[in-house]
């Protein structure tokens, strides 16, 4: 580590830390260990667990496809979209808040898993249809 670096950047960062610190003291007023753990843990779990996980799955998919690399996106896109919906709506889809949701909103939470599966099926089905159509068109063009 050498020297200070850019004085302009230093000044911007120190001003920013003043605001972060002022709010941070208030954020941590409570179960501060757990709150700090959530704050930092969110970044750590994303960068060191979630991202390597989906990047690894993607790399595996591309490797597994071998010479048929052009086909990868017909699996990759529905996987990514369906996985994203699962990630965002996990509490409802998994049913872990079903009881509370029914009590609070007076509505059943049983349909979320089914609807997510339907959307997933539509995504993969749609992808398969587009794929089949493109392959068919390619064959006609070359044949």
């Amino acid at each position: 580590m050498r020297g200070l670096g850019s004085p302009f950047q230093l000044c911007v960062l120190l001003c920013s830390f003043a605001l972060c610190g002022y709010a941070g003291v208030r954020l941590l007023d409570g179960d501060w260990v757990l709150i700090a753990l959530w704050f930092v843990g969110a970044a750590v779990i994303h960068d060191l667990v979630l991202l390597p996980l989906y990047a690894g799955v993607d790399r595996g998919l591309v490797k597994g496809a071998g010479r048929r690399r052009a086909w990868v996106n017909y699996v990759r896109v529905p996987c990514a979209l369906s996985g994203l919906l699962l990630l965002v709506w996990f509490p409802l889809i998994s049913g872990r808040v079903s009881e509370r949701y029914a009590g609070v909103a007076g509505q059943s939470a049983d349909g979320f898993l089914g609807r997510w599966l339907v959307i997933t099926a539509v995504l993969f089905g749609g992808s398969a249809v587009v794929f089949a159509w493109r392959v068919g068109r390619g064959r006609r063009a070359s044949g």
Partner: protein, 422 residues
């Protein structure tokens, strides 16, 4: 610091530059996502601050979930009652836009992840501070998105009350966000300009995000943007409908308070909290048991529902809009004006009111309304909705309805109104 120690072993694993192979990464890819987030997060922050102000936290202790806010409440103002759909709009935008930005945020973080593994970890004091600032930026962004997304699904696993966590967390994040924008936005805009002018790859500055030994592409940059945009659109399309009624709400298939309405008839619109959930029993709300206490300057009145029906009744078409981002279109409410009830106990001038509910649980069992809200002729102690008596879940025997107020301030099962002292 001992430089020789940091230099000797060759960088391995993710620290080695050629570990990262995606040909998509590059400052232009990041710049586009960054500018989308710059606009989107600014809107999220502003609508979030508006939602905080909508609770009138500076009016009364009972409204204030963040009494230690200090200077962070500098901008607070009396929340208006016009337009009556104001909170419906600002909070619908806040939550729906937040959901739609999830894929953009994830793609942005993916595009810069190699920078996490730079060696040496800090080149200078400023560089070390910048990396700490980036931890606050990334941690803050994820903390805000995660707490918000969990809260709209009623999954209260976060460590404390949602209001202070999401509010103070937003300010910590915004502090780091401001620094990041000041330091990086000029580069991002320069790159966007170069892209628009159609020059090939960046020539004048080295692309520190691009992979030095990229794999053969499996998707074009345009295709990757298409995936991110498509993912945003999918989240938008499966959420936005819950700000509307009927067939549009049914399109919000994966979102709480989306799908079909709860039951039919005049009371068949979205319920925030059912009577059973907050511990209100039908026995306490019966004609014989329930009395409304109205207190003010000239004394205290106890009114039965029949007494209230003897007062002048007025109508107002007003929506219900929740902090969780869902809302209903206008319902036709009928009841006694709050300002008439204030006049009943000696307040002819605009006055604040403390509203207390029969409900046993929930953070806003007691809530204060400001004089401008009490004064509005559309602000009612409602007894009817859509031409029928209120249902128990919508607040029978009497509930508050105030234009543009957040859902929880429209207190249900009201048992006491105290004018003048909040």
């Amino acid at each position: 610091m001992a430089r020789s120690l940091l230099r000797t072993p060759p960088a391995r694993g993710p620290f080695a530059p050629d570990f990262w192979r995606s040909p998509l990464r590059g400052i232009r890819f990041t710049a586009v996502l960054g500018v989308v987030l710059l606009v989107g997060i600014t809107i999220l922050f502003v609508t979030g601050l508006l939602s905080y102000a909508a609770y009138n936290p500076d009016l009364a202790r009972v409204n204030d979930m963040t009494p230690g806010k200090g200077l962070l409440g500098f901008y607070l103002f009396s929340w208006p009652t016009d337009p009556p759909w104001l909170y419906r709009l600002t909070q619908g935008v806040h939550v729906t836009l937040g959901l739609a930005l999830v894929p953009v945020l994830l793609a942005k973080l993916w595009s810069v992840v190699p920078r996490l593994f730079t060696l040496p970890p800090a080149r200078s004091l400023t560089h070390a501070l910048e990396r700490i600032s980036l931890l606050l930026l990334v941690g803050g962004a994820l903390f805000e998105f995660v707490t918000g997304i969990l809260n709209v699904q009623l999954d209260y696993v976060f460590p404390g009350s949602f209001y202070p966590l999401h509010f103070y967390g937003a300010w910590v994040f915004f502090g780091a966000f401001l620094a990041h924008v000041v330091l990086k936005a000029p580069v991002a805009f320069r790159n966007l300009r170069a892209m628009r002018e159609g020059s090939g790859e960046p020539g004048d500055e080295p692309d520190e995000l691009a992979a030095p030994r990229p794999d053969r592409p499996t998707v074009s940059r345009r295709g990757a943007f298409g995936l991110v945009g498509g993912a945003s659109l999918l989240l938008f399309a499966t959420s936005a409908g819950r700000s509307f009624d009927g067939p549009l709400r049914e399109t919000a298939v994966l979102t709480p308070h989306g799908g079909p309405e709860p039951g039919g008839g005049p009371g068949g619109f979205q319920i925030n909290k059912t009577a059973a959930y907050v511990g209100v029993r039908a026995g306490e709300t019966s004609e014989e048991a329930w009395r409304l206490t109205v207190a003010g300057r000239s004394g205290t009145a106890r009114l039965s529902r029949a007494d209230l029906l003897g007062l002048p009744l007025h109508s107002a078409d007003l929506p219900i809009a929740c902090v969780e981002g869902w809302s209903t279109s206008d319902q036709w409410w009928r009841g006694v004006r709050l300002r008439d009830l204030a006049a009943l106990v000696g307040h002819d001038e605009p006055v604040d009111v403390l509203v207390e509910s029969l409900q046993r649980r929930g953070p806003f069992r007691r809530a204060a309304l400001r004089a401008n809200q009490v004064e509005d002729p559309r602000s009612l102690l409602a007894l009817f909705v859509n031409g029928e008596e209120l249902t128990l879940d919508h607040g029978y025997p009497a509930r508050i309805i105030v234009p543009a107020a957040p859902g929880v301030l429209n207190t249900k099962w009201v048992e006491r109104l105290t004018f003048g002292e909040v």
